[in-house]
Symmetry: C2
Subunit: 279 residues, 2 copies
């Protein structure tokens, strides 16, 4: 079968998007389409140029016999800004007010359109970092970790709050839940994380920072390395923090003044952190 | 800006894949690329033909002034078969044995390549169904529900095992956990599911069927409709079941004979259910 360029471009785009940050060889595409490697190289230039133009990712081509292409999805500054603004708009809704300074976000972290943005934003932050695994703690961090992991094409691990019989041997740490000042326990299955692994931590919401801090301790217990921490939303009126250096996509405060309950959302520190101070 | 066909095809493919099961108008693409609607229509034919050829989805084009295109990702029978076989191969590993007839699957549900397959398989099953929301129960069902929801472009909801302060008002049901014969409680935030919604239930593992059954009760409490149930893996040596009509991608038994612990994995009933009896 010989496949025409127009069809090749469609299928290659789909294939590369399903295998981000992975070297796909010229040979693979050449055999898949019955086309010369030189034609495939031209196709890849077109794909590279298109992703660059629309600010959706970069295609790195590796020359030579064992060469190929690696698609790394990321947002241009302009697209990242627009995605953050969309998130702020979605969070800015007084009906999200919950008692105790919490904010209802469960609907957002169950929406594919939101998760695409969150995932691609986090992948953008770590675009030039060596990442082996993305970590979160159950339950609401899971959609965030999965969205990020899909764009980065890295496995993710879920830290659990208590013992589950289906996990096999675990490593556990105690941590202080910053917002309620209680000692809690979190644990991770022994076989899910290797020594020396480079780990990105993500979560849905940063308040006191206790759980992020706990995950940091767990990473140390496994002799792994912390690359960075990113949360969907951080609360800014929660007093002293147990973590520094956490990136947030959105900042949000739940304020109560008598019967008046308001949600105040604005961009987090993502743009400064990722694209520099001038933002 | 006028964009050439080759670049349009790449960007349209990316855009459509990020917005599956959504009508994208000719007008949108025409304005995005500064191209005539007739050219966009020709592009869409090429995309349609390509997805069909590779068995990765169908593109439905809607003619007329308000027309456009809807991309529905699904697997051809051949691709579905290959994906199921890959899953069986991954599960067939005696080191996955856990006490009590359980099987260690946490690594698989944290791998993007596996989740792509699981998500597209489940989307294939419900390709012609009217689905409003996909449901699961915490914790290990979440990666499955999210993978399916991303391919179907539908929101997902997570049933919780206990009260969490951040959720607002909830509806709860008691259910019998089939494998341990205990009464447990599960609950769902009141605002996450509407009456009349069409719901697909997914989970990672079917043993006794208690949790699936509980989610079925919860759907009734919300006056919503159950469209179908699908699990990644079902255990076949767990005796009497509390649910019928559940589709499984993989069947797996954890067997213990003295010191010898074996995992026996084979295809579930997915292929018969989705593609008919001749499989």
């Amino acid at each position: 079968m010989k496949v025409r360029r127009s069809n090749r471009l469609v299928d290659m785009t789909r294939y590369l998007l399903e295998h981000p940050r992975t070297l796909v060889s010229l040979k693979f595409f050449s055999e898949r389409y019955g086309s010369a490697k030189s034609s495939i190289s031209e196709d890849l230039s077109i794909i590279k140029h298109t992703f660059q133009t629309w600010g959706e990712g970069r295609l790195k081509t590796i020359p030579g016999a064992s060469g190929g292409a690696v698609l790394t999805p990321y947002y241009s500054k302009e697209n990242a800004q627009a995605a953050i603004e969309d998130l702020v708009k979605e969070v800015s809704d007084d009906s999200r007010f919950l008692p105790g300074g919490y904010v209802y976000l469960s609907d957002l972290i169950g929406r594919p359109d939101i998760l695409h943005k969150v995932g691609q934003l986090i992948a953008t932050q770590y675009v030039d970092k060596d990442v082996d695994v993305v970590m979160t703690v159950e339950t609401k961090g899971i959609p965030i970790v999965q969205a990020a992991a899909m764009y980065m094409n890295k496995p993710f691990v879920i830290v659990r709050n208590s013992s589950h019989i289906t996990e096999g041997p675990t490593v556990s740490v105690n941590y202080v839940s910053g917002s309620v000042k209680r000692i809690k326990k979190m644990e991770l299955s022994r076989r899910t994380l290797s020594a020396g692994a480079n780990v990105v931590i993500v979560d849905d919401f940063l308040k006191g920072g206790g759980t992020l801090n706990g995950m940091g301790s767990l990473i140390k217990e496994f002799d792994a390395n912390l690359v960075g921490m990113t949360v969907l939303a951080e609360s800014t009126n929660s007093g002293k923090r147990l973590v520094n250096d956490c990136t947030s996509l959105v900042k949000v405060d739940a304020e109560e003044d008598g019967d008046k309950k308001t949600i105040n959302a604005r961009p987090g520190n993502f743009m400064e952190t990722v694209f520099g101070k001038e933002n």
